[in-house]
């Protein structure tokens, strides 16, 4: 970029805006982590100061690890998130491939129908979903959550992936057909690797709401064996007394798995982008 085009004032404002946004976005996260290492008095007396020698305490973490089965909560959250992402990506990509690759009657209409879920929140159907799960005997199972989250993730996956799949060269797919690849092989071996950056984007967008969701675990799987982390943390929030140490510690711990997943996906994202640039 040429120097002449960047005025220091303008770039100053840009940086100011970015720094302000970063602070606003990180503030609650930092506050949560900082306060999770303080004793109860310090949390209330000076919530904004860092833990000092006298106020430092890991009592929250101790409570979390002792009380309740937090390892199992984490496990449930991870299983639900990973499996839901897997199915949402798999079925979303398949539907997107069909919509972008094949000409059939009602193609556009089908695409619109599948994308409607982006505009209508799935929670509107909670009662019907609960009735369905009860009838199917799936209440208090992780399967119930996985089914709901897969359905919740599909519209966005189909919408984004079908746009990306349209950009995959027709010649490449036709070369595969001439070489005798089946339509499944073309999908899995030619198209999917080329839309990997888009898959990573969809995975990130799908993952966060699933991990953070409290609504469906509370309604569909509140049993002890199927509790997720967000639901599990609720035991420390009472009507009259809230164990803030424990709540903050649980939330701080809950950040890490999702952070790791994000790092994995975002590496894919960046690799995909650079691979496209040099090609």
């Amino acid at each position: 970029m040429s120097k002449a085009r960047i005025s220091p004032v303008r770039s100053g404002f840009v940086h100011l805006a970015l720094v302000a946004y970063t602070i606003i976005a990180l503030f609650p996260v930092v506050l949560t982590i900082v306060n999770s290492f303080k004793d109860k008095n310090a949390i209330f007396r000076s919530p904004l100061t860092l833990p000092t020698g006298s106020s430092f305490s890991t009592v929250g973490y101790e409570t979390v690890l002792k009380q309740g089965d937090f390892i199992s909560y984490f496990q449930n959250s991870l299983i639900v998130t990973v499996v839901s992402i897997f199915f949402a990506l798999l079925f979303g990509a398949m539907a997107a491939f069909a919509l972008s690759e094949y000409r059939f009657r009602g193609n556009t209409l089908m695409g619109l129908y599948l994308a409607i879920g982006i505009m209508i929140p799935i929670r509107l159907g909670t009662v019907a979903i609960l009735q369905g799960m009860v009838a199917a005997g799936l209440v208090n199972t992780l399967t119930a959550l996985i089914l709901v989250y897969t359905a919740q993730g599909l519209p966005l996956a189909i919408f984004i992936l079908s746009e990306f799949m349209r950009t995959v060269s027709d010649d490449l797919k036709n070369a595969g057909r001439i070489d005798g690849l089946s339509e499944y092989a073309i999908f899995f071996r030619l198209v999917l690797p080329l839309v990997r950056p888009a898959m990573a984007t969809v995975a990130v967008f799908t993952m966060i709401p699933i991990w953070n969701d409290l609504w469906f675990p509370l309604i569909l799987a509140p049993g002890e064996a199927t509790k997720t982390v967000t639901l599990g943390s609720q035991v420390f929030i009472g009507q009259f007394v809230t164990n803030w140490n424990a709540v903050l510690a649980a939330l701080s711990l809950a950040i890490f798995p999702v952070l790791i997943l994000y790092v994995i996906f975002s590496r894919q994202l960046i690799r995909g982008i650079t691979a496209g640039a040099v090609k």
Binding site: A175, G176, R177, I178, L181, P193, V278, K279
Partner: protein
Amino acid sequence: MGSLQLKSIRKAFGGHEVLKGIDLEVKDGEFVIFVGPSGCGKSTLLRVIAGLEDATSGSVQIDGAEVVNTPPAKRGIAMVFQSYALYPHLTVRDNMGLGLKQAGAPKTEIDTKVAKASSMLSLEQYLARRPSELSGGQRQRVAIGRAIVREPKLFLFDEPLSNLDAALRVQTRLEIARLHRSLKATMIYVTHDQVEAMTLADKIVVLNAGKIEQIGSPMDLYNKPGNIFVAGFIGSPQMNFIEAARLGDTQAKTIGIRPEHITLSRDAGTWKGKVVHVEHLGADTIVYLETEKTGLLTVRLFGEHKFAVDDIVYATPDTSLMHRFGADDRALG
């Protein structure tokens, strides 16, 4: 082996008819080129032959066998695409061998065939590389190699040189011509570049708006164009078309004369005119004249000539090489 027969092929997308009844016969070992302006249906026709598009009606026969219901992989064809269409995640070796691998050929057979094809195209040292590590010309050679390895009855080329720069284009053109001679295979080649068509083809098929305008050898089309479209499409610079009435010919509607069949003189000649523009190409000099009788006229002279804009010159056509076209735009005998 390697003949092709098309009978009244029609193809419509929605209500729009792209191919309007194509009949064509290609003999074993022929190099046939489909040429025509953009949107004339030449690529669609190639795709119908390959089986990548279904014709709305008509029959496609390869070696006498009807293949309309045969999937592309089983038609005994290989195709080279304009965009190379190499598998980005496979090495050159795997790119070339994939077709045979899918057909269930033993590994040793695949290896020998890949080795043979890569030595033909001097690709041996690149076999372990991926397409992204190759230049454009090398990629297109790999794509051609992938076709050779399959030992197809029909080679189909879809504008294979369009993405290459001018020097590479000439080089790859020679390579394709050499391949055709050594493999003696039937090749069908689509291009919009008439130079490629003239230099490579045994037989050129000129397509326009979904119909075949004329089929013939390159020199047939050059010397005896069947109608105005072919006359204008084959040859560069384009043939001059003059209203016949202005030259006193009452039977024909249009008179055509190629730029290279006109001579110029400063002293005397048939048509007096003024030079509008001159292009010096070294081997050729292209002179654009505005004459009273014929309007704008393009003249191609061999070698260097010192004409300048606004010079008054006389143009003389070689009357034995004039083409006459009737009211229906067809050539008059």
